[in-house]
Amino acid sequence: MNIVAGIIMCLGGALAILAAVGLHRFSTPYARFHAAGKASPVAFLVAAIGAALALGPAGAVELAIASVAMILTLPTGVHLMFRAVHRTSAPEIAVDELAPAERLAEAEED
């Protein structure tokens, strides 16, 4: 069982490296956030599954609490970061479907 748990944890570590390399390789802020916001929680989840296999029920409960908290909160944070970047910097992407909707909302507010 320990070998299986170790292999799963190594898989999680490889995913974490992919997330960190994605931060460097992508060109626009949106693509970088995408790599960071999707791959890193999956990396933690895979590592948590491996650690839960190695630790047994006592550790699995705490790891499950941590995983659920991360799945609920991390996409929200990264989404807010996306929105802050979209509102504060000049558009540098080919297709921007959010900008017309935001302009419409501003016009309705006025």
Binding site: G13, A20, G59, H86, T88
Partner: protein
């Protein structure tokens, strides 16, 4: 095997820290810090599996709950700090085109 996993997580954390130091903007730095924090949490989970004690998992739970508030507050700060910068950029773009 578990030590290899810890080494992988620490390497990922170091790569994200390089982005934190180099990053072109504040948003990139914050997200890089987030990735480094998650890699640290993964390394902590692997280390507790290595030692066989669950005492480190409390830190993992607390980081999972608290780490998100830092990103949210930084995003709100970024938005208030530069509100209006986007409309200025759009005006500039329309004027030049």
């Amino acid at each position: 095997m578990i030590l290899v996993a810890i080494a992988l997580f620490v390497t990922a954390s170091a790569v994200a820290t390089v982005r934190l130091l180099l990053g072109p903007g504040l948003a990139e730095r914050i997200v890089a810090l987030d990735v480094a924090l998650i890699c640290f949490m993964g390394a902590l989970a692997c280390y507790s599996a290595h030692t066989g004690s669950t005492i480190y998992l409390i830190a993992v739970v607390v980081l999972a709950i608290i780490g998100f508030t830092a990103t949210v507050s930084a995003a709100r700060f970024l938005q208030h700090e530069r509100s209006g910068a986007r409309s200025e950029a759009l005006d500039h773009q329309e004027a030049s085109s």
